[in-house]
């Protein structure tokens, strides 16, 4: 069969389209972004008019997907791991409402924090919500699981989580495609009260979710994605979750793995196979990407106290991404160290592009803030976060999307005035608006800098949902129009920028400064695309 070379994320996108999905709802976030981008560019998806426009944030994405499921159609929500924190309220409750059309939530975790603030493990969320999880070990499984996840969700009656990690998301391999399924017809939920979580109904729905748990275990025990692979050497049994199966196999390239292996790619854990592994093996080694979820679960699980090895007992590092070498070490293999990195090699952290508008804003802010003293700039997540590093070192915080305005307000409440917030246009739309409303309502003495590059740049230049609306949003929230100031951040405007910052910092109340210039990367991409289209 002809195989297509696809990134893991692209395999998920293709699988969703082929699985009869009617719409994807997402907010960008590495390493999940390309799923939606793939669907946006896919011919069949365009022909079928599948929904693929970006949502304002993960919560709106998740809820909109739930609405599509209510109406009987198959749907996917995509986000990075921390995005699920934003969507958590909807997510947990959707396990209780259950679904009508199949609902797959794809969450991309980022162990080792290649592009994230933390390395939280989304499987805990799924356990919390008590829903099944699919965790592919390779790109083919990513495709298959996305395609078949909708049917699983419809069978289970709840959303299903498809959990991927950076390594699978951003690695390419050959994927064989399967027939394209039809979309579902529009249909109402059978029970008209299913989605009404008033206490009396919620209690009933919750009981039904609890009752389903045994069925979910059975689904896992019978799942093609969970395999028990026998081995003669019973001193050790190995549980491999998701991609770690490959790291194990990499250590046995020219020989068969001597130990019995339980490959887990569907949760809840398949109890039957687990008991078999425990009955046959002296010790158990758990390989899992992320937190030691399975390892924790198994501690004390077996009556005879079988020793469980993994991230908690030091066999594997407690944090960070796994790889074939770390797994080899846990298996007691000799690891060749290679040539050490020579000391002359310097770190090369990411930095703002030369000519980026955020730079001009920071140049001016640094000049003005020198008079007020350091430590009063609360920022947010986006390219401008790189302003925490030399040469600018302008900003003093980056916690979660939207936390700039609210933390500035809190600090101002505490007496740190004036306090400054720096937030991007997309982050403002994502979760800055409500914080600004709080500040306006209390006339807080804060200066909010919405550094508007007309793009969601950190994740590759997607469309920002506040584009063209920022001033009117601020006005609508009640910011005094005299203190909503727009300026073009360019070197030649430095003096004007400085003057403007100074004026607004002196103003006792909420002011909003909007340095606005298109991200230069996005601009050059736009021009390239235009000339390409012009040539054809």
């Amino acid at each position: 069969m002809q195989k297509h070379l696809l990134l893991g994320v692209e395999a998920v996108g293709q699988g969703a389209i082929d699985g009869g999905m009617s719409g994807v709802y997402a907010y960008p976030g590495t390493p999940s972004t390309e799923i939606t981008e793939y669907i946006q560019d896919n011919e069949l998806a365009i022909e079928r008019k599948l929904h693929s426009k970006w949502s304002a944030n993960e919560k709106t994405a998740y809820e909109t997907a739930l609405g599509m499921s209510y109406a009987g159609k198959r749907t996917m929500a995509c986000m990075k791991h921390v995005g699920l924190n934003v969507a958590a309220d909807a997510f947990i409750n959707s396990a209780i409402t259950g679904v009508n059309g199949g609902f797959v939530l794809t969450v991309a975790d980022d162990p080792s924090m290649h592009s994230s603030q933390n390395e939280q493990d989304s499987r805990y969320y799924a356990k919390f919500a008590m829903i099944p999880v699919l965790e592919p070990s390779n790109q083919q499984e990513a495709y298959d699981m996305a395609r078949e996840g909708f049917a699983l969700s419809e069978e289970a009656g709840v959303p299903v989580m498809l959990r991927i990690t950076t390594r699978l998301a951003h690695s390419r391999a050959g994927v064989a495609m399967k027939p394209v399924l039809d979309e579902n017809q529009l249909s109402m939920p059978q029970d008209s009260k299913q989605f009404v979580l008033l206490p009396a109904i919620a209690r009933r729905r919750y009981k039904s979710l609890l009752e389903k748990q045994a069925a979910f275990v059975k689904l896992s025990e019978e799942s093609v994605y969970n395999q028990y692979i026998d081995g003669d050497e019973k001193s050790l049994g190995i549980i491999c979750c998701g991609i770690t199966y490959n790291y194990l196999m990499e250590n046995y390239q020219d020989e068969a793995c001597p130990y019995p292996v339980l490959k887990v790619s569907q949760y809840p854990l398949p109890e039957k196979q687990l008991r078999k592994l425990e009955a046959e093996c002296d010790e158990i080694l758990v390989l899992e990407e992320g937190y030691p979820l399975v390892e924790e679960d198994l501690k004390g699980y077996f009556a005879n106290g079988t020793q469980i090895k993994g991230r908690l007992d030091g066999s594997l590092p407690r944090d960070g991404e796994l790889n074939p070498d770390l797994v080899g070490k846990a298996l007691g293999k000799e690891i060749y160290q290679g040539i050490p990195v020579p000391p002359v090699v310097a770190n090369r952290p990411p930095a703002l592009c030369q000519g980026c508008g955020h730079q001009d804003a920071y140049e001016a802010m640094n000049e003005v803030l020198a008079d007020y003293g350091k430590g009063r700039v609360f920022s947010d997540i986006g390219c401008y976060t790189l302003g925490a590093l030399p040469p600018y070192e302008t900003i003093n915080s980056c916690v979660d999307m939207g936390a700039s305005i609210t933390m500035a307000k809190g600090a101002a409440d505490a007496g740190l005035v004036p306090a400054v917030a720096v937030i991007g246009d997309s982050t403002f739309a994502h979760s800055g608006i409500t914080g600004l409303l709080d500040a306006v309502n209390e006339k807080s003495n804060i200066t909010v800098v919405i550094s508007d590059n007309e793009s969601v740049s950190m994740t590759g230049g997607q469309d920002s949902s506040a584009q063209g609306k920022i001033e009117s949003i601020c006005e609508g929230l009640g910011v005094d129009p005299a203190h909503i100031r727009v300026i073009v951040p360019l070197k030649k405007n430095h003096a004007e920028l400085v003057k403007l910052f100074r004026e607004e910092l002196e103003y006792d109340g909420v002011s909003v400064i909007i340095p606005r210039r298109e991200c230069i990367q996005r601009a050059s991409r736009r021009k390239r695309n235009q000339s390409r289209h012009a040539n054809h």
């Binding site: 070379l5 951003h170 490959n246 196999m249």
Partner: protein, 193 residues
């Protein structure tokens, strides 16, 4: 056959165009491929790396084990050194000699080159210069692929086909420049390995 290749560079230098040409060629040869890329934050001028694995047998891990890379192919000299722990005892390092200096503490250039020349098997090539001679400075990545080609177990003609396919969209002239670049890179490596 089996090739473990570390592709290294700086975000924005376009190492993924090398991976695309290689991957296309490998696919044409019905080989198995796994290729892990760096997306996200580091693309903003940070260090980026791609693990590329090509084999006639199924490949398990997306990541290459320490000390098992047959080739480090770097479009920047200091970045070439960052991944030395991956190089196998018989592996080759092929690097561009033009530094990409976007950090204040970039080491002395001579010291970087000294470390490269200390290796038993390497090719150091002025890919930017050779690309200019071939007609387009932007073809330097294909010069690099050419310089690495003697150490990759794929028919050179298939690599040329890969380039044709990857650049077809951009027109015949761009294809020709890139073909010239890969051939020039290959010739240099064969004469200087």
């Amino acid at each position: 056959m089996k090739s473990n290749i570390i592709l290294a560079g700086v975000g924005g230098q376009g190492i993924l165009s090398i991976a695309a040409a290689l991957g296309t060629a490998a696919l044409e040869n019905n080989l198995h491929i796994k290729q892990a890329e760096t997306h996200g934050m580091s693309q903003r001028g940070g260090a980026v790396v791609s693990h590329m694995r090509i084999s006639d047998k199924p490949i398990a891990s997306d990541l290459i084990q320490m000390g098992t890379a047959d080739l480090i192919l770097s479009v920047e000299p200091m970045e070439a050194l960052r991944y030395l722990p991956f190089l196998s005892e018989r592996g080759y390092l092929v690097t561009n000699t033009t530094p990409f200096i976007n950090i204040p503490n970039y080491p002395e250039y001579e010291k970087v080159m000294e470390e490269i020349h200390r290796l038993p098997r390497f090719v150091a090539i002025d890919a930017d210069g050779i690309a200019k001679e071939a007609g387009n400075a932007r073809a330097s990545n294909m010069v690099m692929l050419g310089a690495a080609s003697p150490f990759i177990d794929i028919d050179f003609s298939k690599l040329e086909d890969g380039i044709r396919e990857v650049f077809a969209r951009k027109g015949e002239q761009i294809v020709e420049v890139n073909l010239k670049a890969i051939r020039a890179g290959r010739q240099f490596a064969q004469e200087n390995k």
